[in-house]
Symmetry: C2
Subunit: 529 residues, 2 copies
């Protein structure tokens, strides 16, 4: 894994996270000073340990696999032992018993499983802070690029076990990397939380995803709750529990629930709009009284590999780009500050925006004067020895993505009878949401033209939600409550969506009055009278 | 397995058991008529099933291993399914989901694991009745005859896994036998309860028994509670829970707790005495306000294989025996009504009693006039072609057993300051307790000389206790409560015990006034002036 790629995951690392909730992690560690047995006090070992735990937690289950070690562990350090106790959603269970006092070492993992990228956060359960982050491509990518392909292969070619193994292997390798870097034994990881979309959760748990993509779109489970992490092969303490964020349905997954929770929009009296753009775009609208969500295929235009020069956000990818008015000289920044080898999603959006603002394409997003492409980097300056350019087809793909997201937002607002002016906050989430340039995203009409102070970048809110649920039972219950509150709004059942989608193939929008700041920019540059 | 051997286990079978508690079995089966999903009702499959369960049970955990099958099971019978839900001591969990209505088939197992014999009862959870019983020697017998040998081998020759495997294999074979005979799929068994002594429970669960037999006698666990039956390899539904009766300590095990529960002495305002004689003798004295227990090695004299002609209670064993006064002709009854091949515990006690009442041995239990043995069956009439006889050594062994039990009862009564007259009921339990002839047991002083209407045979109360705990959560909690209430009385710490043991080598007792009915019999026969 390159440093540049790693950057994707470090968006939460390095800064001290504000803790707006009290620490109440899924597992607790406590030191037990146990009275040793004697002829006058011959209680059995396990019952003796349990008696101490009951004082703190009430009834605590002791798994058989731990019972057999308890006599040895207790006698190794003369009955001073550290218990790790975990909550499994309904009761407390002993997860580990260690000799001596190890209460200063208490670890959990928060995991964001994206279709493309997996990010694992090693969390200090004592402080709530992220100790270290590791990320890598989801190992499923090499088996099937997009979600639908993966579902197809899982269902029709019996590859579900391969997909499960691939993502578990990815996570396990990241766990080993984190463990090595931070001198933590994976056995010391006592709890795991995961934010991911429904298909990723199904594949992680080995559940049949076949009905996710066919009417009436019924997942196997929306609220998997807690399962034993070792049951799916995760290399952590074999009694550690894994909590998966609940989903609302096939297309509004746990990653979105995590995002809503992190945004706080579900507690706000004012209305917020939450947008997570990946291969699918998920949109949530609402406040403390109501929450409505919709989802639609945004298309893979931003995911790399679609545009001719497109690539994922890895080293050598152009991530920011500008074109100087007049000279049309292209400036850019690459990930890792090396020679460019391609362009990633954020670069593509900058590029489309700059082509528009410099009059190189018209408002229908077409090149002018018979031109069919625009060279961003000449062959001599690129890292591959070939020129990096954007073609009309690349732009058309990007327009479909922006059109789908835009139409979905408008259809949802209209369907709910809410106008954009009443939206007090606009949250962007997900891997793209973190990196998409706001101004360019507005210029091309991907984001609505709102006052900039209303726009909030949530970063990897799926991972941050996982961290919060790892650290707070109350947050975990909040996630379940959000999932239960969200009403799903079916875009496909709505005629308005398709006509909006077709009509939204203008830059930034068919109706320029919806985009006053972009209209002004175009006027300022003499592109509009 | 022979029919005769099987007889050992059938003591509860065939008669309709009075149910003095309401049926509230550890697992429940209910029919779910689930609304199928549709575009307007697209809840996920697992959540859909869980929603129905919550109506009846509150929160119900759905194990991952079941989640994956739920979509198929529900669709197989158009969303009419039968759920088996089990209680694991703290919350409810889905154990099975079957297509269609299978609520008329609901099975559990109650198991009594004796050091020598294992009895498995197949219980109908709908009626509470025993459908069928199977029993066999505990497979551990061939590895080590008595408990101390087994502990030694487990600890010093690392044979614990072998002992665990042996008893699990015994149980599994009995399960297969019951399943085959009664057309029940072992997968349909959704709960298992076990009554057994502490060492048997340790070996069943794979727990180190080494500290059971050395000061300060600390078991690994007294209250194992619920563990997954499949975790120890039992061939039942792999999500079925196994509940083990709690023990009070190393020497007062779950079998005794089960016996006390079945006797009802813990609810009685009058004082009862409970005696379970096996290799060890366990004695409980008390009432609804207090319970005291003691235990001591009774010796293996009654278990077969010690006496020269001794054998276990299997086909061909002399189980009842009498000697005609005057002619000294021996009449007997064998198990299976076949030619005798040996004599089992009950036959030995009859024999000793008859030898005494016919003046063939004196009150010191010694043959008279240089005689060293007594032939019970001549070679021509025995099934082996050899004569069956009782020797002085056999009698001496038996005297040690009766002495130990008698001394323990007297020491406990004295220690508590309770006299025999205030004992309102005398319960005998365990494999021997069921079969020992009461009059002969009193004649030799093994049992106290109480009015006969005070004496109650509990049968296999360990198995019956297991059946009750299987059928009633309240009974299960009652067992835990009994275990918590019993005070252990240490015989070895009591000088009186040893002097009583030494002094009790008279028939029936050093002080004949303790045995007025026996004294009268001896007088009637002219053996006492």
């Amino acid at each position: 894994m390159t440093t540049a790629n790693n950057k994707k995951g470090v968006i939460l690392e390095g800064r001290v996270l504000a803790q707006d909730f009290p620490l109440d992690p899924l597992t607790k560690k406590i030191l037990l000073e146990i009275t040793p047995p004697s002829m006058g006090n011959n209680q059995a070992d396990v019952d003796r340990v349990r008696k101490e735990l009951i004082k703190q937690f009430g009834p605590v289950r002791v798994p058989l696999s731990l019972m057999q070690y308890i006599p040895y562990i207790c006698r190794e350090t003369d009955w001073q032992v550290t218990a790790t106790v975990g909550y499994n959603g309904s009761d407390w269970e002993l997860i580990a018993l260690e000799p001596g006092n190890t209460t200063d070492r208490h670890y959990g993992l928060a995991i964001d499983i994206g279709t493309t990228t997996v990010v694992v956060y090693l969390v200090d359960m004592l402080t709530g802070q992220i100790i270290s982050t590791a990320s890598d491509y989801n190992g499923q990518v090499v088996l099937g690029d997009d979600i639908l392909t993966r579902i197809f292969l899982a269902v029709y070619e019996n590859k579900l076990p391969d997909f499960q193994k691939a993502v578990v292997t990815t996570i396990n390798n990241l766990i080993l990397e984190l463990a090595g870097k931070n001198a933590v034994n994976p056995e010391e990881v006592s709890a795991v939380t995961v934010g991911a979309n429904s298909t990723m959760i199904h594949m992680l748990l080995g559940l049949d995803p076949s009905r996710i993509c066919k009417e009436p779109y019924i997942p196997v489970v929306n609220s998997p709750g807690f399962v034993r992490a070792s049951e799916i092969g995760l290399r952590v303490n074999k009694l550690a529990m894994l909590y998966s964020f609940p989903s609302v349905g096939s297309y509004v997954g746990g990653d979105v629930i995590a995002g809503v929770m992190v945004s706080g929009m579900h507690l706000d009296s004012e209305v917020s709009l939450f947008v997570d753009i990946g291969t699918n775009g998920e949109i949530v609208l609402g406040n403390k009284d109501w929450l409505v969500a919709c989802a639609g295929a945004a298309g893979p235009a931003l995911e790399g590999g679609v545009a001719k020069a497109g690539m994922r956000a890895a080293e050598g990818a152009i991530e920011r780009l500008s074109i100087e008015p007049g000279t049309l000289a292209v400036s850019f920044k690459t990930i890792g500050d090396v020679k460019p080898i391609g362009i990633c999603g954020s670069g593509l959006i900058d590029c489309l925006s700059e082509l528009l603002l410099n009059g190189l394409i018209n408002r229908q997003a077409k090149f002018q004067d018979g031109c069919k492409e625009f060279v961003l980097v000449p062959a001599t300056e690129s890292g591959t020895g070939e020129e990096i350019k954007i073609t009309q087809k690349d732009i058309d793909d990007l327009m479909r993505t922006k059109g789908a997201v835009n139409a979905a937002v408008e259809t949802l607002l209209e369907g709910i009878g809410c106008d954009l002016a009443s939206v007090s906050k606009f949250f962007t989430a997900g891997a793209f949401g973190q990196y998409l340039p706001i101004e360019s995203s507005i210029n091309i009409g991907l984001y609505p033209d709102l006052p900039r102070d209303k726009i909030r970048l949530l970063g990897n809110s799926s991972g941050e939600g996982a961290r919060q649920a790892l650290l707070s039972n109350q947050k975990r219950l909040e996630a379940e409550e959000i999932a239960g509150r969200i009403t799903y709004f079916e875009l496909n059942a709505n005629d308005s969506f398709f006509s909006r989608f077709v009509g939204s193939r203008f830059l930034p929008h068919t109706n320029l009055d919806y985009y006053p700041t972009v209209k002004q920019k175009l006027k300022d540059r003499g592109l509009l009278s």
